[in-house]
């Protein structure tokens, strides 16, 4: 624990070396988290940069009420939401509409390399309500614990667990029957 305290102290003093270390530890995990929220690589890259810039600027105000891990994921999550809000304004559409075009964005992404099985899974994920999808992805793919999710999303743990297990069942049920996605006009 002393190590972590020292590390946080170095971060709070805005030490470049400590920040590099932070990047080494979290860059990949935050990238994947953001990528699943904003879908394309290009957008994820922009949001990731904004996230680390925001983390650096917010470090002096980090009160350590939550773990560094949770705090950083919360910033990444908020930055992704902020990006989606901006997209919504640009397109004069709602976040729900954006979610409907999830697959169009995904397939249009140069760095999506999915085969049939992966397209099926993505189609099932796209069909989920946004919040359920986010909860599932953050628990299953980002390897976050329920108490961390509760801190990030401000949702109580029982609701999160209910949503997660319901989603797992839905995915299992629908994965075989899902129709393969065909690209449509956005």
């Amino acid at each position: 624990m002393t190590d972590e305290s020292d590390f946080i102290k170095s971060l709070l003093n805005q030490k470049e070396k400590a920040f590099k270390k932070l990047l080494d530890l979290y860059q990949k995990r935050l990238y994947w988290h953001i990528r699943k929220m904003v879908i394309t690589h290009e957008n994820a890259n922009d949001v990731l940069q904004n996230t680390f810039l925001r983390i650096y600027k917010s470090l002096p105000g980090f009160k350590q009420n939550s773990s560094l891990n949770t705090w950083m994921f919360r910033i990444a999550y908020n930055e992704s939401l902020r990006f989606l809000e901006q997209e919504k304004k640009k397109r004069h559409s709602s976040i729900d509409d954006l979610s409907k075009t999830y697959m169009n964005h995904l397939v249009a992404d140069t760095f999506f390399e999915g085969d049939v099985a992966q397209l099926k899974l993505q189609s099932v994920l796209a069909s989920l309500p946004d919040k359920d999808r986010q909860i599932f992805q953050m628990k299953y793919y980002d390897n976050l614990k329920f108490h961390e999710l509760a801190d990030i999303l401000h949702i109580n743990q029982s609701t999160l667990k209910t949503s997660y297990y319901r989603t797992v069942k839905l995915i299992e049920k629908n994965i075989e029957n899902v129709e393969l996605f065909k690209e449509t006009e956005v």
Binding site: D24, K28, S58, E113
Partner: protein, 166 residues
């Protein structure tokens, strides 16, 4: 010794978790990225964070000086356009600011940013206060001053804490 052992184990755990997470995203979700993306991205982020912060670490007094200087420029340029006779002649003023007044008249302000901070304020002292008041009442281009104020203060503040929640 125990510390290094523990640290190595922790790093191994992190590497193994990262590999597992990478694999899940590429194998199950089909998500890819450019080659060497993370190395390039790390460099971009560090450049952005540290270069931007160095360039933003301008002391507050300098912002204030810039604002007053901008107001001074607006005033003196406007004087030279609308009431050119109110500017002192080169012969009437000390030599230390003669160059400044000369530059103002030639509208050559943009060539030297430090000129703005130092000399323009000195030059503006040689315009009579009553002329300035009169000019403010009649000709002042408020927008110029307000825009400068917004650029130098408010936008800096806006880039700070506007998070949804933390």
């Amino acid at each position: 010794m125990e510390y290094y052992k523990r640290r190595n184990e922790l790093m191994k755990d992190i590497d193994s978790l990262e590999n597992k997470i990478d694999k899940m995203h590429t194998d199950e979700l089909g998500l890819g990225m450019p080659e060497d993306y993370f190395a390039k991205s790390k460099k971009d982020i560090l450049d952005q964070v540290f270069l931007e912060n160095i360039s933003k670490e301008i002391p507050l007094y300098r912002n204030k000086v810039m604002w007053f200087a901008a107001a001074g420029i607006a005033l003196i340029v406007a004087f030279s356009v609308f009431k050119p006779d109110t500017l002192p002649t080169i012969n009437d003023i000390p030599s230390v600011i003669a160059d400044t007044v000369g530059q103002i008249r030639n509208l050559d302000l943009a060539n030297d940013e430090f000129f703005v901070e130092d000399d323009i304020l000195v030059a503006s002292l040689f315009i009579d206060d009553s002329e300035i008041d009169n000019y403010f009442d009649t000709y002042i281009i408020e927008e110029v001053v307000i825009d400068e104020y917004i650029d130098h203060f408010l936008l800096d503040d806006l880039t700070g804490e506007t998070m949804i929640f933390y």
